[in-house]
Assembly symmetry: C2
């Protein structure tokens, strides 16, 4: 199709204005509603409530990994939107026909891929309310409740984790929390704050350097085991990030960090940012925050703690030893939307001094100014997007309707299930653990080559009864079994292990057949 | 509080491990569910459905702007999360007690601030389903339906706007659409893609320049009337953005853009990116895309079209003349979550060649690789965050349950209401329009000084019956009346005008009193 040829039927401006006017008058005179009416909405929404409960309570019985091939969906629906409205009953019917065959069921107890994403009834109901209020909380005045509940919920949550008071708004200092969309955004926001801070500092020391010269010298650090989003934050922020080798337990250590910083300083670079991961994606290893934080503080390097998955466990006192050194951090982030039963998106981030982020992002047009500026945070300055939903409602509902005790029990149950699976694995002499069982994650492999394990995983996922993804550390390929579902029971762990074991039997048979 | 003192009660690792084990065993043995049970969820969610319908159908009767002062909420709730779970009935009761007093009612027909944010029953129900499935659609395999419905919905929507086929996935070329969170993110994503493309090109021409030297020379363009998020994208992306003066109708013109580009080229800079705004925030002016696109193409500058608000109107043929020149664009963005009845967040973005964005962001760890890579888009490479909700469901439900005809009627009704308000304004000799009525926006002011108009707005918002925000163009301050609610009727325009008029009476009286 040649450029612009789709637009040939476009009316000329003069014609179109006349047409628009007629249409407008018609519609204004009409008393017919174009919207779904409230009684119909109630029927539709209540029918959806029943569907949701049925879906979730029985998700265990569905094949966890879909069998569809790429492109499956397009032939199942029309190739253009309908001109006339359809019935909601027809839309409901299409969920099983069109959508469900292509859904990977993240909340099945048979789903063990990635890390969990949260799902709970209280959070779903809170999101309904958020959808109804549908305010955009970019400033305090745009919906005071949206900003203020977020401030208080981040204090509640910070207290649950026993974060140092400097991070909390209720301490009366500069610090406070904010809900970001994802941990990736938190990492990027912290990086941009750290970048702004360091540029300002270096400009004072070297007024002869321009900003791009300084940026060209900046260097940040993370463990080689850090999440891919850290590398991506470096790409997006246009600065060098150096990957520092982890120790034999996959942890970033203070001496390795210090050595890297010293080398870079000697090479004329400017260290500005370090990401300390508490609970890595590959193996749920914990960087030594106590060591790395002290080193970073010594060299005036911003410390960002990425505890995206494992941070939820810090609501249990017995796991807080992993946070030792938290007082050295400038920013801390974890995702209640991963392991704390608050539906995506809800990534909690605390900053000791948000002004570096606020000043880096601040653009303040007249239409967003208001009389109360300065008396409450205008969260738009704390994040990448301008718009933001009323997400604090999800935290409020989940914290109240579970209570801290049940959220702790949820964490402890998942850790217990991982231990159970790890024990099953160690009882089978064909297998070995690739790392110590950590939180809700078990890293394991068949003894032998990477190829054997790749073949094993292919068989496991091919059977479609459980779903896992692999990882590789220092060229050793292994399988990751993450406990993900809040519906998981002890029997599910037995089932999942049987699936792994059956796939291994199958692999051994074909290996034997090949040898003959 | 001294550093770290909140952590003094933290158990030592050895103690904590023992404690954890006991707790885990207790919980695993327990058959008591820690989660809200399905029947209770159904009662709670259905009660929320009734609340939502009641809230929205009667939102007109609430004071649109809350009367609370900063800090109102904290004393209304406890200062820490409860240890034990509460009843959902108590949480429901607190909505009116704690939340509603601090809500700015964006969906009231008396809300005229900013631009609309969408809210509809079909979108709310779709979001419920999205919350139940709660998949994270970062790759195709992570939930094929999530990716595939998005591909097809962006094609449906692109066809509704009559976008050139090059932007659509169904054309079989490189192009396609994606749902971003916000227009701010789309502007940033396009900027980063343009930056990556230009850096690669310049590296070939000047292999002796390093990347930071090139970045230091890059310069992008937008109208002085562009949204604040454009300036912010420049800050985030670490590149210069130049603000080009708009013409007397607040439109960016081709000659002004070309002059700026020529000056920068003469100064040794490298033009790489231009944002063309269709429907500015201040006055809903339309940059001349036909002129600017041609100029940008000539100088090999990426054209990003930001039609965040007004883009929804292009589903009506009579407004498409504003898109003339769309074939020159590299990326196009508008927000169905503003004016097309799809709840936030749903910002639709199309790219003619997504590979520039994909390659700029691509980090590909093993745990995210899958066998089907390349046969369907892995949307995580198209956006800033890694995680993403199943947002295409909202588009699907809204398009089917309204139908194109009713969505067009919605746009035309809003445009008609703005016309009506503009006429009322022009019939009052004390007032003047600050710009031509455009789409659902009326820019107006009292004849006379800016100070008079600031005083007028303060009175209007102080009365709390309607809510507006101001803007300023070339030092002329004016009020913006945006038609925002889907519940708006012709009588609401009369009501809002009476409020403005009464505030003006009030102002005139106090002006007269001051003179005496």
């Amino acid at each position: 199709m040649s450029k612009g040829s789709t637009n040939t039927n476009m009316p000329l401006p003069s014609e179109s204005k006349a047409k628009a006017k007629t249409l407008v008058v018609d519609k204004l005179d009409s008393s017919v509603s174009i919207d779904m009416e409230a009684p119909e909405f109630k029927d539709f929404a209540k029918s959806m409530v029943d569907y949701i409960a049925d879906y979730l309570e029985n998700v265990r019985d569905r094949r966890v990994l879909p069998e569809v091939k790429p492109g499956y969906l397009q032939p199942l629906i029309p190739d253009a939107a309908p001109e006339k409205p359809e019935n909601w009953q027809d839309v409901m019917k299409d969920i099983e026909r069109v959508i469900m065959p292509g859904v990977t069921h993240w909340h099945s107890p048979k789903f063990h891929a990635y890390f969990p994403t949260a799902n709970s009834y209280p959070a779903i109901v809170a999101d309904m309310l958020s959808g109804a209020i549908a305010c955009i909380g970019f400033t305090w005045i745009a919906s005071p409740a949206c900003t203020e509940l977020e401030v208080v919920m981040l204090d509640w949550l910070g207290k649950m984790l026993d974060l140092p008071a400097e991070f909390l708004a209720c301490s009366g200092g500069k610090g406070g929390g904010v809900i970001q969309g994802t941990a990736s955004e938190s990492t990027l926001v912290a990086l941009l704050g750290a970048k702004a801070k360091k540029i300002q500092q270096v400009k004072k020391e070297h007024p002869e350097w321009d900003e791009h010269t300084i940026i060209g010298k900046l260097v940040g650090y993370s463990s080689a085991q850090a999440h891919s989003s850290v590398e991506r934050a470096g790409l997006l922020g246009g600065v060098k990030l150096r990957s520092v080798p982890a120790d034999e337990h996959n942890r970033l250590r203070g001496d390795a960090l210090e050595q890297a910083i010293k080398e870079d300083l000697a090479a004329g670079l400017i260290p500005f940012y370090a990401v300390v991961t508490l609970g890595t994606t590959n193996s749920c290893a914990f960087d030594r925050l106590d060591e790395c934080g002290a080193v970073a503080n010594k060299y005036n390097v911003w410390v960002h703690v990425d505890a995206a998955y494992a941070g939820s466990a810090f609501i249990c006192p017995e796991y807080r030893h992993h946070m030792k050194g938290i007082e050295t951090a400038d920013s801390f982030n974890f995702n209640p939307h991963k392991w704390m039963l608050v539906n995506f998106d809800c990534s909690a981030m605390w900053l000791k001094d948000p002004s570096w982020v606020v000043n880096a992002f601040n653009v303040d047009p007249l239409y967003l100014k208001h009389d109360m500026q300065g008396s409450a945070p205008d969260y738009r300055h704390w994040q990448i997007p301008l718009g933001r939903r009323f997400r604090a409602l999800k935290l409020w509902f989940v914290l109240r309707l579970y209570g801290v005790e049940n959220l702790q029990a949820h964490i402890r149950r998942h850790c217990g299930f991982a231990k159970q699976f790890g024990d099953l694995c160690q009882q089978d002499k064909r297998f070995e653990l690739a790392a110590e069982v950590s939180m809700g994650l078990v890293c394991f492999r068949l003894k032998g080559s990477n190829e054997r394990n790749e073949a094993l995983l292919k068989r496991i996922n091919g059977r479609g009864n459980i779903h896992m993804v692999p990882a590789k550390i220092r060229d050793v390929y292994f399988l990751r079994m993450a406990v993900c579902s809040r519906f998981t029971r002890s029997e599910d762990m037995e089932y999942s292990w049987k699936e792994v074991s059956a796939a291994a039997d199958d692999l051994e048979q074909s290996e034997a057949a090949e040898k003959q």
